[in-house]
Symmetry: C2
Subunit: 318 residues, 2 copies
């Protein structure tokens, strides 16, 4: 089959369309003929050698696809079903093997490209703010990087859950985008101190900054607050005052979707489809497809995402 | 009414029996005539001025009592009921006002003194290892200070939940006590490195050391592990590597029982009675009453607990 091969592991842009073997199905897996594959920031990291696939996963880049089941293996999935899939790897290819629990229906009215663009972000946001942090009606959530890929989606999901939404972003223009999506409290991180603005107010924080914001996040958290960190854009090593953890009864959690067990992923996929898919289908939560590229042009797509000029998602079409 | 009054706030041992007003009932509270009041390490801290009562709570020391309801206020509690009570303060007295949600039945076969000795420890252990950390059958828990008041109880509860139990203690004699209570893995913290012995194995850690053990606890935690810190015996400020949080998908949580809301306490009390009381009543979980003192001898009881020579609980009888 055709797939994107990194020809030089030292060069993250040496992504070329090549030939490799079709994946062998393991127990409980189906073979999906890929129509569209989402491009994620983690894919850029993997091409740089910083985010190796978990043991047993495909070496091929790509964390989410949409396509058609062409071999059901030992499962009861119907051959010919149109599906989305959350992957540990292998998406930038003509075919990919997918554990049955990681298949999702295509949201009604969505194209393959639109479906492939929304799976990772939806599972990441839902699993962290709802399943882990337990965000509920009437609570306040702080979403760092509200105008980013994760942030724009998280704002909308949090509003659907009935939360008050605070966001940080780097410019007033980006904050305007957040406001249009429903954000209630807008903080320009270049001009304001979010810890001061939100002291003791945040029941939940969705954090992508890590060490750089730890101290301020502890100030912003309310009693009983829960922070989920999913990114380390501000480094990893920080001083932690555990006295504050105790006094405010705080929970700090780190998660990655990719490293979870099959069972863990299946639980997240099922819960995300149950709660988020209806919002995608009735238009109350939207995700922005910025552009599509032919699979062979993966290197170009990576460069575009890397440039920081993309607002919304890039998708490769096969 | 009679109550223990601290006559000199500079002197933690100036605890004398004095006269003060009976507490006024607030909405939803009942008046309990105290028969027995448990003595906790937090009470020593409070007498030293280090652990002030939460806003609105009694200034009188004492976090747990057993006794008889003498005024039901606006509740439907029956006057004359024999009850235990979890308190935010006020236990070292003839009468104490108790929010209805913080009343517990006396375990069948328990004396007032025995009941008063077990409430704080049972609610602390159950809320943290079961309700917060979600310990379940087949998981491994590390309990620091396994031979202490919290530790001895936690070992037994964790065994009832079907967990594998690892403990730390400061001597082989203390580890022998832990073993008799069911502990499976015994670690002498003066001779062994628990992080090395338990690397990546602990689904849950019940921590009382704080900063001093943070780094080692992160090593000992398994993927998806959850640490609950309830004590800071090893200080508060530590370096945290958030990269490990993410890679291992860890949860770090700090809690205190006393600072929780009425609602939070009521939920914990109800769940503890539901799950732990049957074990107390059938003898599968035991708690050791070391000695009882007359209320007037509170200062002596505090000195005894402070000496470190007490194994088991002290109770004041009124
Ligand atoms: N753990 C997981 O399972 C998982 C899954 C998906 C993504 N992630 C992580 O989540 C993060 C966001 O992903 P993404 O796809 O949304 O990337 P993205 O679209 O590139 O967004 C990056 C965001 O970071 C924000 N940012 C940069 N510096 C900031 C600062 N000092 N304060 C606050 N925000 C700041 C940016 O805000 P401005 O544009 O306003 O400057 C932007 O919104 C990444 O770190 C990614 O690795 C983790
Ligand atoms: N947050 C809450 O809601 C809450 C409620 C109750 C208690 N607590 C806290 O929980 C802790 C234990 O309370 P307790 O009533 O069980 O007190 P305790 O009976 O005095 O126990 C103290 C324990 O600390 C252990 N310890 C001391 N140094 C240690 C070390 N380097 N490594 C491992 N263990 C060590 C001791 O072990 P050895 O005797 O073997 O040396 C002992 O078992 C206290 O810090 C208390 O403040 C918190």
């Amino acid at each position: 089959m055709k797939a994107i091969i990194q020809t030089n592991l030292e060069d993250p842009h040496s992504l070329e369309l090549g030939e490799t073997n079709k994946p062998q199905l393991q127990d409980g897996e189906v073979l999906v003929k890929v129509k569209a594959a989402g491009v994620n920031r983690a894919d850029l990291l993997q091409a740089r050698g910083h985010y190796p696939p978990p043991p047993g996963a495909s070496e091929i880049i790509g964390l989410e696809v949409a396509g058609e089941v062409v071999d059901a293996g030992d499962t009861d999935v119907e051959v010919g079903s149109k599906v989305g899939a959350l992957l540990a790897g292998g998406g930038y290819a003509e075919y990919v093997a997918v554990p049955q629990g990681q298949l999702l229906p295509i949201p009604t009215g969505y194209s393959f490209a639109e479906a492939a663009s929304v799976i990772e972000v939806a599972c990441t946001v839902w699993s962290n703010i709802a399943m882990e942090a337990g965000l509920t009606q009437g609570q306040t959530i702080l979403i760092h990087g509200g105008a980013g890929g994760i942030g724009t989606f998280a704002i909308q999901v949090a509003k659907q859950l009935g939360a008050t939404v605070a966001v940080t972003a780097g410019s007033d223009e980006k904050l305007e985008t957040c406001k249009e999506l429903g954000a209630d409290i807008l903080i320009n991180y270049n001009e304001q101190d979010f810890a001061e603005e939100l002291k003791n107010q945040c029941d939940v924080i969705l954090d992508i900054m890590g060490a750089k914001y730890l101290k301020k996040n502890l100030i912003a958290l309310a009693k009983g607050g829960h922070m989920v960190t999913i990114g380390m854009q501000g480094g990893t090593k920080a001083e932690l005052n555990m006295g504050i953890l105790l006094n405010k009864r705080l929970t700090l959690q780190g998660t990655t979707l990719r490293s979870r067990s099959l069972e863990g992923k299946a639980t997240i996929v099922a819960d995300t489809v149950k709660h988020v898919w209806p919002w995608l289908e009735n238009g109350s939560v939207k995700h922005y497809l910025h552009a599509t590229y032919a699979l062979a042009r993966a290197a170009e797509a990576h460069k575009a995402l890397d440039s920081g000029e993309v607002t919304g998602k890039l998708v490769l079409e096969v």
